[in-house]
């Protein structure tokens, strides 16, 4: 999922990269260049090098947002954009690290679900947390309902994290984020 709040985020969305062609129409409707880099196990390294080259050299990107980008990014990528890659994870970290967190939350019978925006690092879902939020659920909520409620959270938390980053309100210290003005 991909979300742009016109006027609320003081930045330019210069480029959208995806490993699937499906969301091109969204990029088009906002007049943002859209590039597809398909990823497989064998082509991963090569494709990533191309992506990095495009972002750094061609588009001069300052901040990378992983808006439910489902591929794991390499060490090298993280080093190139150190504390400049924001990921949204669809759980209240450190609960439910990794895949299918809504399914696992449903199995565990938690009464709250969350979303966490953090800087991506080499260790999956372990980077410094910028922002988190939760919403209440009950036994009545099936996984599809968790997904629906969670999507709203993810959007809001990601937008908030991007906002504080572009407003230079974050200092990363000891794998944690000092966030000013909150």
């Amino acid at each position: 999922s991909f979300f742009v709040r016109a006027g609320e985020l003081d930045c330019d969305i210069s480029l959208i990269i995806s490993n699937h062609p499906d969301l091109k129409h969204i990029a088009d409707s906002f007049n943002v260049p859209f590039e597809v880099f398909k990823i497989t196990k064998d082509t991963k390294e090569e494709q990533e090098a191309k992506e990095l080259d495009m972002m750094v050299n061609e588009y001069k990107i300052d901040l990378v947002i992983l808006a439910r980008y489902m591929q794991i990014i390499s060490d090298n990528f993280c080093k190139t954009f150190n504390h400049r890659v924001i990921n949204i994870h669809h759980s209240f970290l450190p609960a439910f690290i990794g895949g299918k967190p809504y399914h696992r939350a449903h199995e565990r019978g938690v009464k709250l679900i969350g979303a966490t925006a953090h800087y991506a690092t080499a260790n999956l879902d372990e980077g410094p947390i910028i922002e988190q939020d939760i919403t209440r659920i009950s036994h009545r909520d099936e996984v599809s309902e968790l997904l629906r409620k969670g999507r709203i959270l993810e959007k809001n938390v990601l937008a908030q994290a991007v906002k504080v980053h572009v407003e230079d309100r974050v200092i990363v210290y000891n794998n944690k984020c000092v966030v000013f003005g909150d």
Partner: protein
């Protein structure tokens, strides 16, 4: 003048759950109605996504306690009905208040909260005893004139001491449910078997994050922006039992561990009370390792 003898109405609950099929609601309602029970509240839910759909219902009803035969014949009709529909059921006439035994160690905030709320009549139960592995909180129990029993625990005497605890809780004080109000010892499976899904624990984190020891310290190290507390039924797996209630509170980089602990205490108290109220109200049906909580 003839004094009219109007028996005071009482309120009871019936919880049923089992494989979903047609006719359950009608059949249960009829049994209750025939027993002279007036249904005042009913809530149901079906888990349609399960492999075989499972049905849950909670009835709350008014009745006039007359003779014990009413209880007996209703129990029998219900047992028969539930056997036909393959339902689990729990009928609670609530002719007496539930007896809640509290176990505590050295942290006092949850104990104070429970006893204060109880005094304000917010917890509809009796609290006949406080059991602790330290003497520190005896004065708290004394303030509320509740019997306090000191049962120290060490790795060597754990089993004997648990027998002592069980003797107090079961035989002497006859408690229905145990609340671990920041009781810091791990209970053995033998102990847990005696009170299956009748032991409510408060864990000072938003489970399943930070299960185990020192959750506030670990939350601080992780740099989370929210901390939580979770009330759950205690099972053999540490901090893994069915979750009754949870809540969170915001924290920031400015909060040191001491601040997390301080903010967390508010949560722990509120979440624990909320969970106990749900249990005392018979609003919970435990299903596998999750809780269906009605009326929330």
């Amino acid at each position: 003048m003839v004094a009219s003898k109007t028996a005071k109405a009482a309120i009871g609950t019936l919880r049923v759950h089992g494989p979903d099929s047609r006719g359950i609601v009608a059949a249960c309602s009829q049994v209750l109605s025939q027993a002279g029970c007036e249904i005042i509240n009913s809530e149901q839910w079906s888990d349609h996504k399960a492999m075989s759909p499972h049905f849950f219902q909670r009835f709350q009803f008014k009745y006039c306690p007359s003779t014990s035969s009413q209880f007996q014949s209703t129990d029998q009709s219900l047992a028969k009905l539930c056997s036909e529909f393959r339902l689990n059921h729990e009928l609670n006439w609530r002719s007496r208040k539930q007896r809640v035994g509290i176990m505590v160690s050295k942290y006092d905030h949850c104990l104070w909260e429970l006893l204060l709320r109880h005094r304000e009549r917010e917890l509809d139960c009796e609290i006949p005893v406080v059991v602790s592995n330290h003497r520190h909180l005896e004065h708290v129990a004394d303030t509320f004139q509740i019997p306090f029993h000191f049962v120290p625990i060490s790795p060597e005497n754990r089993i004997e001491q648990e027998s002592e605890q069980l003797k107090l809780l079961q035989q002497i004080y006859n408690v229905d449910v145990i609340v671990l109000a920041r009781y810091m010892q791990v209970l053995s499976s033998q102990f847990l078997d005696q009170f299956d899904r009748k032991i409510i624990n408060i864990h000072h984190s938003f489970l399943p994050a930070f299960s185990g020891r020192r959750p506030y310290h670990r939350a601080f190290e992780r740099g989370v922006k929210l901390i939580g507390a979770t009330a759950h039924y205690t099972t053999e797996q540490l901090d893994d039992g069915p979750i009754i209630d949870q809540d969170v509170i915001r924290v920031s980089h400015r909060d040191e561990v001491g601040d997390l602990i301080r903010k967390g205490r508010i949560l722990e108290r509120n979440v624990l009370v909320s969970a106990i109220q749900a249990h005392l109200d018979d609003r919970i049906i435990v299903y596998g390792d999750k809780c269906v909580v009605f009326g929330d």
